[in-house]
Amino acid sequence: MKNLLYEEPLVEGSKTYADVNNDVCKPLESFPTKLWLGAFGIANLIMFMGFGMIGYMIYEGAGMSGIRSPVGWGMMIITFVFWIGIGHAGTLISAILFLFKQKWRTGINRSAEAMTIFAVMCAGIFPLIHTGRPWYSAYWLFPYPNQMGPLWVNFRSPLLWDVVAVSTYFTISLVFWYTGLVPDFASVRDRAKNFFRKKIYGLLSLGWRGSSKAWSHYEIAYMILAGLSTPLVLSVHTIVSFDFAVSIVPGWHTTIFPPYFVAGAIFSGFAMVVTLLVVAREVFNLKDYITLGHLEAMNKIILATGMLVGLAYATEFFVAWYSGVSYERFIFIQRAMGPYAWSYWIMVGCNVLTPQFFWFKSLRRNIPLMFVLSLFVNVGMWFERFVIVVTSLATDYLPSSWNYFRLSWWDTATLIGSFGMFFSLFLLFCRFVPTIAMAEVKAVIPTKGSEHHG
């Protein structure tokens, strides 16, 4: 019989403390490989193409986008919600799993948090372009004293809550990430042989020396940040869902939206973490730190949240019928069988069916399979937002104004451009920042018997 008490080691290959530093810092200290340069070049090209498109779209006006009455929220809002959702896995790993003392988070939290920050940066672009005149957003989005009235933002609007929620989320994620990085930057500084390298990482490390007095405060601060981020991560997508749920549009005006959005966000975020880490552990040779056990644990979360999302889809339908509201019923029948049925079934196929493979242990630990499935989940989650935004708007209360929504060529190009930006930033991160939280991993390595270091 299998030993049920056996626990998989969190770090494989019986590493010493020094091995951790050597392995993790290696990509930072060697010349970039051709693979990295090629990937970075392509990602950059796509990113700048996206920026060019955005520039042209701003120059010509928002009409370049596919938004036509009655679909006033097109690709921009869909993609905004998509990227914000992606970010959620990072905060969940760094904050919630920390509070639950899930030690397997140490191998993946650094890269997941980086992913969060980059995803939120990508997300932030879209509402700004969507405004059409982003240079006015200072007073559209943030309350600042001015001479136009006084003219203030409307604090009763969910769109403003969203601005505050997303900017708070970004700031706190960045602070959390940096806090975790300080001791690791000090490690890089102390290894550095090059003068500038030493100075730059020295500055970033703030002069951290690993004093236990400092560690005692540091650990408390980390705990407090985790405590603050836990409700924050749940609140961000809740508030994003308020953008929809507080309106009176059929299909949007439902109380299930906050938990449904949060579950979907974590689902898509973990899928993105799996996509990135399956590649990163291979390329940067970090298989001993990001083990199959880590990936399996993430796949379990993908399965659980995928089931939650599936339950939410079913509940929505049930409530639409049970409410007896004819508009609500109509919208849901339209979703499954109307002109956008193709997108609805892509969504259900990708988000409800694909995770079912993860019921089996051998499939949860199958790397090519999980990579493909994680891509499916990402596609499915983009389509989930497409279904929510487009189906409810395209067939609105006035049948005479119904219209079929299509992404314009510019929409597609900016969407792809945001992926270019995301991957460019992630590749830079892999080159210049320790991708594994070294200090945290050392704390979970089993200590060996007393031995002198040669």
Binding site: A18, A165, T168, G207, S212, H217, I220
Partner: protein
């Protein structure tokens, strides 16, 4: 110029060893000593006699300040600066303000906690203090004891050797 001070540093290679050494240093009643470790070693606070950080109080006050700021900003703009009557609903619509109450509370508390922790509690950024050994951020555990004058260096070194430090040296500078 202030009198030069010295730090006598002993090195260990296992977290368990530094715990024992820190405890012994505390029992010897050294005025100023600290341990330096690559990662937070559990139990070192107790071994070294460190008090629990008062940082949570700072976070609490900052969080309250964030909440107050959110209340003040929203209520003041809608009640006094630019009252907007929307369907005869109350001007100060408290339920609608709750999301921003929460967000600003978290924002203020989080940022303040980290800034105060690094600057006030850890005394960072500080680039002038001696880094005893580059491997402290790698795989070494150091016990550093600050002494007032050169005469005390030798006895402290002897003490460190007695408590099984595997390497001992001294540097000029403060802890």
């Amino acid at each position: 110029m202030a009198k030069p001070r010295f730090c006598v540093v002993g090195y260990y290679f296992q977290p368990g060893e530094i715990l024992v050494a820190a405890e012994k240093a505390r029992l010897r009643n050294f005025k100023n000593f600290d341990t330096f470790t690559p990662f937070p070693v559990h139990g070192i606070e107790k071994a070294q006699g460190l008090k629990r950080s008062s940082l949570p109080y700072v976070s609490f006050v900052a969080g309250c300040a964030g909440l107050m700021a959110a209340v003040g900003l929203q209520v003041w703009t809608h009640l006094y600066s630019w009252p907007m009557n929307i369907g005869g609903k109350p001007l100060a619509a408290i339920p609608a303000y709750v999301p921003i109450f929460f967000e600003l509370t978290v924002l203020f508390a989080g940022v303040t906690t980290v800034v105060v922790m690094f600057t006030h509690y850890c005394g960072l950024p500080n680039f002038s203090k001696p880094i005893f050994h580059p491997d402290i951020t790698n795989d070494r555990f150091a016990l550093a004891i600050e002494v007032d004058n050169e005469d005390q260096i030798e006895p402290v070194k002897k003490f460190l050797n007695e408590i099984h430090a595997q390497e001992v040296h001294h540097v000029e500078g403060r802890l």
